[in-house]
Amino acid sequence: MLPQIFFAYFAVVITVLSILVITRKNPVHSVIWMLVLFVHIAALYIFLNAEFLAAIQIIVYAGAILVLFLFVIMLLNLKKEEQERKFHGYWPLGVLAGTFFIVFFILILSKISVFPKLGPYSIQAIQSEGSIMTIGKVLYTDYILPFEIASIVLLVAIIGAVVLAKKRIE
């Protein structure tokens, strides 16, 4: 029972926070709600015994990405932004699509009876080695190719930032 309550709390709070993030008039307030949102998502990771991911979630998203968001937002003139409408005319359509998906998912998920077989990394297996070691081993053996491609993707992102932002050529 306790796990269900725990999960229900986080699911509801995460949904509410997401809505708060997109409805705030002041972008800085949006970012603050997003910070709280990230912390809750990290808690969900802990709930799944993925404490390493939880820490990374906070360090990377809250500690780096969101700070950069704040940095950019603070340099903008918010006065004009605050007066503008947050939603354009299509938002009822979005709500409709969202509702459709929710109903669809609830209907289908309740019907699923066959589940794929579980992988080798059960909770016991992860706890016996620690989540950092488990993730490290998997990343550097089975997933070495995606891992290395991801490094090139990040390199390209850095090149892009430098190319597009550096001072005028010549």
Partner: protein
């Protein structure tokens, strides 16, 4: 977890937080004394013998002072900003092993937990700067966000070497791995980079650009007064304490002390605290002697010296470990 466990944990929390807060209060006094003597002054002398009661007087003063809020400030954010800083700093204490088998939570991701919280702590500063609606505070906040992001990378990378040697990110395991010799002997580069990054991360001199009084009045907390100002002070000194403890745990052997003659009978916590005090003294010493860095120099050494050094350290450690 049943009831007695929870009660014991709560007791641990209360004890640790109280002890640390007391340390924070006296760290301020200590800093004033140390700097005073270094500058051939006496420091606080009036309240109590040698000003020993000064922190208490300060606390009472701050507590009863009027809480001024600037007219155009963003009130909710203005209120929560200092709280974020204090909570982040005090929560970090949870994983620090003060002596053998004593830490509130013995997490397997201890190092990452500390890094995560220190990055959350930066929000207190940034949001305070923004919410005050004042240009000095704002510039302080911006400087701080850039500085903290930059130095967090160097900080995290320099700890990778330690994690590699200890084979764990659990702080107790790391201390146990240093039973024979402290990691400072085998990781001198990482120690240096980490120490410098810690000073930058806690916004202490000579890297205290966010609160450079000559340029920015008091930086991000220019507009704060009363107890909220006190909270910032508390957050800063608590963060100093936590970070010093991290240096001790990761590089100086934690609670381990010399194991011969009379020394082996000294309680472990004494060794731990002695090392922490030594580092705190280093903080004060640096503040009293070094001039402040220029902002671009600060970012320059962060990105161009510390991060490459930390990366090189990882490579070297890896190679040596392989051989």
């Amino acid at each position: 977890m049943d009831i007695p466990d929870i009660a014991i944990t709560l007791l641990k929390v209360v004890i640790t937080v109280n002890v640390v807060l007391l340390h924070v209060a006296y760290a301020v006094w200590c800093e004033r004394k140390v700097i005073g003597h270094m500058q051939a002054r006496l420091g606080p002398m009036v309240v109590g013998p040698h000003g020993l009661l000064q922190p208490i007087a300060d606390f009472v003063k701050l507590f009863f002072k009027e809480d001024v809020i600037p007219t155009n400030a963003d009130k909710p954010v203005f209120f929560i900003a200092p709280v974020i800083g204090v909570i982040a700093a005090l929560s970090s204490l949870a994983v620090i092993p003060l002596w053998e088998n004593f830490s509130i939570a013995n997490l397997n991701i201890g190092i990452l937990y500390i890094l995560a919280l220190s990055s959350v702590g930066a929000y207190g500063i940034i949001l305070a700067g923004w919410a005050s609606n004042s240009k000095y505070a704002f510039l302080g906040g911006l400087r701080s966000s850039a500085q903290v992001i930059s130095y967090e990378i160097a900080m995290g990378l320099s700890l990778v070497g330690v994690m590699m040697l200890a084979g764990s990110a659990n702080l107790s395991d790391i201390v146990n791995a240093q039973a024979k010799y402290p990691f400072i002997l085998v990781q001198p580069i990482a120690f240096f980079v980490f120490l410098m990054s810690v000073i930058a991360e806690t916004n202490r001199p000579p890297f205290d650009l966010p609160e450079a009084e000559a340029e920015l009045v008091a930086g991000y907390f220019s507009e704060y007064s009363g107890m909220r100002f006190g909270l910032f002070f508390m957050a800063e000194y608590a963060a100093m304490f936590v970070m010093s403890a991290m240096v001790v745990v990761c590089f100086l052997g934690g609670w381990n002390g010399p194991e011969f003659w009379i020394f082996s009978h000294v309680p472990k916590i004494v060794w731990f605290l002695l090392k922490v005090y030594g580092l705190m003294f280093l903080y004060f010493w640096l503040r009293a002697t070094l001039p402040r860095y220029r902002y671009d120099q600060l970012m320059g050494i962060g990105w161009k010296i510390f991060i490459p050094l930390a990366l090189a350290n990882i490579v070297i450690t890896g190679i040596i470990k392989l051989l």
